[in-house]
Amino acid sequence: MKTVNSSISKLDGMSLVTGKAAYTDDFAPKDALIVKVLRSPHAFARIKKIDTTIAEKVPGVACIFTHKNVIRKPFTRAGQCYPELSPYDKFLLDEYVRHVGDDVAIIAAIDEKTATKAMKLIKVEYDVLKPVLDLREAENSNPVHPEEDIFTKLEVGFNRQKNIVAKIDFSLGDIDEALASSEIVIKRNYSTQAQAQGMMETQRTYTYLDNYGRLVVVTSTQIPFHVRRILANALDIPMSKIRVIKPRIGGGFGSKQTAQSEFYPALVTLETGKPAKIVYSRKEVFIGTTSRHAMTFDITIGADRKGKIKAIDMEGLWDTGAYGEHAQTTLGAAGKKVLTLYNKVDACRFNGKALYTNHVPGGALRGFGVTQGTFALESAINELAKELDIDPIKLREINMIKKGETTPLYNIVTKGAGNDPMYMDSCLLEYCVNRGKELISWNAKYPKRVISSTKVRGMGMAISQQGSGLPNIDMASATLKLNDDGFFTLLLGATDIGTGSDTILCQIAAEALNVDIDKIIVYASDTDITPFDSGAYASSTTYTTGNAVIDAAEKMKDLIISYGAKYFETVDENIAFDGSNIIRKDNNEKISLVEFSKKITYNMLFTQLVATGSFVPKKAAPPYMAGFAEVEVDLETGKVDVIDFIGVVDCGTPINPKLAKVQAEGGIVQGIGLALYEEVKYTNEGRLINNTFMEYKMPTRMDTGNIYVELADGYDETGPYGAKSIGEVVINTVAPAITEAIYNACGVRIRDLPATPEKVLLQL
């Protein structure tokens, strides 16, 4: 039996594509109160006066909350393990509003029209303050958080008065000396924009009280267990009073790794005792939730003439917007999972600061800081190759990490790593580079081909890595239950956000138990029923939860053997379980699992076999990728079209190659969006201009060119059946490969994303 490394279809696929009820709003009670949030029109203001008397009189209004009648208790919305690295800087509602779109009041009414009408009748007088909109000036500007009761749980360099949310500093070797001894030193600056996650289903939640008076929260989230903890803290009620249920999720990409829409209906249900529902509009997603942190990096690289890189120095500023969710962790990842790619340097240094501004908050988005860091470093490496006049692939070959190698930096940046070298035994980056080079016919096409007097095609490439879960931080668990017809229930706290993780984890369970996949039924995730899982983020589900499933399956097999021994009245060592039968070895007597499960339920032993397994990564198990782009530049309009993008990915042994490949294809297109299309602009007053899909352009299917993905034939011994992660690494190489290709085509170097036709043409 071989269910892993096989391209089976998603178990819930047909139901989803034919439009069956599956998502949060499909199940919301029809009588739920409709909840609306009044949002700030100002980037920074103090609410002088807020008057809800007229609004409250609108027939059908159930309740209205302002900062004056909700509890004031700082919390963080970030979905992270406790204690969080994000500051406790958010209140349910506050007298200050810190970005256009920040929440001012919460209205619940019998229907949408009534709620909206009441919302318009709330009178707010603002004392408009000067917003902090320039990242470089943020440290010397007025504090975005004038209130003194916010704090961090852990020491992260937080300094409220100076708008510093977190600082990350680490280094290896003597950077000054390594730079001084370099024959070539280049210094560059790169910036990336606050990309939107762009999941198709917006945030939405409904809440009700169950028959025990507990708050049930049904929500489109990547982090049900964190949501339970965050809500308990914010609402100041015991965690035991909250149950969080996650139905199908219409896409996440990090957008639902921060609690958002849960607070408002929860408050309303607790106040009124009635079911309540909120569905975010697309505009609310843009102005009222989070996006990728915009960043700017100054990079200095030193090398010798032959192309040996001696020193890399990265100094970054991180725009976390009005709240600090995921700022420290994304900033850290931008260094930790980027600098380790080049393990042969004499020295490297990373210095980063995440700063408050009055922009829409930053948060989690596929790539999680590594995307930004990779764009900066890989762009700089490409520029260095030009300075050295060597092929950028050659430059990588000399300097990048290879199979079996390591760097002490892995120990420095991995929590609980100790001092033993962490060898990257499963690293197939070198293969990925070579294979991609071949697939795109690099030698024939690099650096450019002139197509006509107005069209030139250029080539570019980049490499990247990511993590597979967070070592010694993010924990997952899985429970297996043997049912009385010989099939197993797999209970997961993990959340399938479209990745197919429910299916993949069933494959792993089936493999580990040596049973057919139709003997596994899966249920995820419900904080009352399923075991703890930190959530769908940090590229962790296949790797971390997958290992937890194996652990559970091993324990289940032990239980079956031990109860099999009781059944046959012998010792455990005399029993074998082959997935179908329990066999007494000394006389070959056997009972089928179906019979056995019935017998132990109804006739003898009278027991329920349940096993729970847990896992936390101990070691970094990075997936790697090499990405190659050929683009065509229109020299008269600046328009850039991707002709080919080729990605070769080392994700260890893919559990489901088909689903892994589609992850990669999707990640590449999201990267194309970051590179070429997705603009983020603010007015001088701090209002986000690109706040609808009409203004914010994600790539359409005519914008992407040919995408081709191959998976390297890898194996990581720490992964479940050799698997590493794939979800995030796939986005990172796209932007630096494309901007390099643009440069090779037309000589224009784009250092701030996206590379719009306007930027290209005006520099031509």
Partner: protein, 269 residues
């Protein structure tokens, strides 16, 4: 911040005359074309007037003209067998890149032209044809005059009539994502005289009259093309918005015009 459309009454008159009665009976009554863009604004409408049943849904052809009803959708334009045979399929080409087919099946000719949207591709194409707008009260108005001045009072656009004069034409637009609205669009046509329109500047489409005059006097060929384009960028005013700066628009305008002139075979040897 709060987008809300409220509509008190929705009426479906059977004739334009009846529709006009509704329109003039109340200040806050509004004609609905496709209604594709109403969600973008906040509006209190007393009576929404749906022209679906007023017989304005057809594209028809006579010996010397084509008539496009106000309720014809962009999707209809795209698949029209009549339009395919005229002006190098200019009108269908002008609308085919707008967002997606589902949107084009909603957006109407009348809604777009009456609203005189600056971002419109279709209006720019119409401008280089001998086209007139038929208003219920205002009568026939040349397209350029209508786009510049609009209607003096609330009126109903019934149809657009276009003279079949066998002119050659070409439409070009610049968009970054193919799902976006144009950063700039242009159209050229040539019968005896040259006609050039520039739209999505981002302001409303206009005719480049001085350039047209220059070309009509001097002819146009590869030698004086740049000079003609200088006249054009001198006379056409470009602005900046989220899709592009005036500087960029000016640059690509030259490119698009050049390409359209070539495509419509307007450059003399």
């Amino acid at each position: 911040m709060i987008n809300l459309i409220t509509i008190k009454n929705y009426v479906v008159p059977q004739t334009v005359e009846e529709a006009y009665g509704y329109l003039t009976s109340n200040k806050a009554s509004t004609i609905f074309g496709g209604g594709a863009f109403i969600r973008m604004g906040s509006k209190n409408i007393s009576t929404a007037i749906d022209l679906s049943k007023c017989g304005l849904n057809n594209i028809t052809e006579s010996d010397d003209s084509i008539e496009i009803g106000a309720m014809v959708t962009f999707g209809d334009l795209e698949s029209s067998t009549i339009l395919k045979n005229h002006f190098n399929n200019l009108l269908a080409i002008s609308v085919k890149d707008i967002v997606g087919i589902q949107m084009r099946n909603i957006v109407t000719v009348g809604g777009t032209v009456y609203s005189r949207y600056g971002f419109s591709d279709f209006i720019t194409a119409l401008m280089v044809l001998d086209a007139k707008v038929k208003l219920h009260k205002g009568g026939l108005v040349p397209i350029e005059l209508f786009i510049t001045d609009g209607s003096k009072e609330k009126d109903i656009l019934e149809y657009i009539t276009i003279k079949k004069d066998n002119r050659r034409a070409s439409f070009k637009s610049m968009r970054n994502s193919k799902g976006d609205y144009a950063i700039l669009n242009i159209a050229v046509s040539k019968k005896e005289n040259m006609c050039i329109a520039v739209g999505a500047r981002p302001g409303r489409a206009i005719l480049a009259k001085k350039t047209m005059e220059y070309i009509n006097e001097n002819g146009i060929n590869l030698d004086n093309l740049e000079e003609a384009l200088d006249v054009l960028t001198e006379e056409v005013k470009f602005g900046s918005n989220s899709r592009g700066s005036s500087q960029y628009r000016e640059k690509i305008c030259r490119t698009l015009i050049k390409r359209a002139l070539k495509e419509a075979d307007c450059l003399e040897a």
